[in-house]
Amino acid sequence: MAGVLAKKCITPLVLLHRRLSVPEFIAQCCYHEKVVDHYENPRNVGSLDKKSKNVGTGLVGAPACGDVMKLQIEVDDQGKIVDAKFKTFGCGSAIASSSLVTEWVKGKSLADASMIKNTDIAKELSLPPVKLHCSMLAEDAIKAALADYRLKQQAIQQVAVEAIN
């Protein structure tokens, strides 16, 4: 009787203890290992000089979850993306999505980079449906960065044209 009682009292504690002591295990149960990998070792974190004419900056926010994401690209004279950096304040999926995008766009042309779709990101990271908006955020961030870069280049061209005239 006492044994049964003791067992009844102990089991939840033991379970709770396991939950507390192996959070990594639990995290891996919920997220795909690629998400965990990007979350724990994010690629290309940091900033580029946003004032540089070769740098495009995309800054986006997700109102529903309050995440903010900054994605920057550096483009060479041939129109190839040579470097990309990101900074994301948000959940693991948002960090993983932006980290993955910076990896993908490096070495791509501007046109190819603009082809990146959120569905590709979600597929690569096996994001669950409730986290699809994180991949949307990353897609919008790269789009915004490309738009910013194009805007800068247009402004430069205009100045050049005006100088010639």
């Binding site: 986006v60 926010g61 109102p63 900074k87 949307m136 955020l137």
Partner: protein, 268 residues
């Protein structure tokens, strides 16, 4: 869409729905059946799924909002009809009732439907209701009563949690107005604000002393307070779009506040 689905589906809908209805709402018996117009509206709103049995069953819950306005609830045990809402116990047989899903959180907690509300009164009402509805009080009762008390108690928790904080309360009020926050990015976001948030987040992350983090936390608190006042004014004037934009800002700053707390616990 209605003509496309045809009246056959509506007849079928009617045969399926009342059964599911009672499940969704936890055992209440509804006096009237959903009207054809309401079904049409429902089908319209769920266009892609309208034809499939699976989806209809899932979405049967959302039907409620169209149909309960002109229906009366009655006691699941003694069939007594209720005049007032929400009802927690039948006035005649005193048996616990399933939650009234059509009642708003404000109605459940008997609070004024406004952004600024008396949280002390809210807490008092919550504790009072929880004292009478908590499953602990029903351990000797029938399975049905136990289930109803569990559902009531869970709903109370949800309602209280939602209404307690200004952010969740405001978002809930927008939801009731039919304008929930969309997922995904916010195309109308002010770049200046996003930049400010980015810098604020960076400052929190780079804070090395608890004092630094606390200072940012205090600034954020002031900002949140200002936003609360602005949201209150906007909602009072019925400017829901403005309130929404302010609530989005509030969400961002609430996240910063969370980050500050995290950082503080790391530094302490």
């Amino acid at each position: 869409m209605l003509s496309l689905v045809g009246s056959r589906s509506i007849r079928w809908f009617r045969t399926v729905l009342p059964v599911k209805y009672s499940v969704v709402t936890g055992g209440h018996t509804y006096v009237t059946q959903p009207t054809e117009e309401a079904i049409g509206r429902h089908l319209n709103s769920r266009q892609p799924y309208a034809g499939s049995l699976f989806a209809c069953r899932i979405h049967a819950g959302s039907f409620r909002s169209y149909c309960t306005a002109h229906t009366k609830l009655s006691c699941w045990k003694c069939q007594q009809t209720f005049e007032e809402r929400p009802v927690f116990f039948c006035p005649r047989c005193k048996v616990v009732q399933p939650p009234d899903e059509s009642a708003s959180h404000f109605q459940i907690l008997d609070s004024t439907h406004s952004f600024t509300l008396d949280t002390q009164k809210l807490q008092k009402r919550y504790l009072q209701l929880q004292r009478s509805l908590h499953p602990d009080n029903f351990s000797q009762c029938t399975k049905e009563e136990q289930q109803h008390s569990e559902d009531q108690s869970a709903l109370l928790n949800r309602a209280y949690r939602t209404l307690l904080k200004p952010l969740t309360r405001g978002l809930y009020m927008l939801e009731l107005e039919g304008m929930p926050l969309e997922e995904g990015t916010d195309p109308g976001a002010d770049p200046g604000l996003l930049m400010e948030l980015m810098e604020l987040n960076e400052a929190v992350e780079e804070a090395v002393t608890p004092e630094e983090a606390t200072r940012i936390g205090q600034d954020t608190k002031v900002r949140l307070k200002e936003l609360t006042a602005q949201i209150d004014t906007a909602l009072h004037r019925g400017e829901h779009e403005a309130a929404k934009a302010l609530l989005i800002q509030m969400k961002y700053f609430a996240n910063v506040e969370e980050k500050v707390k995290e950082q503080l616990s790391k530094l302490m």
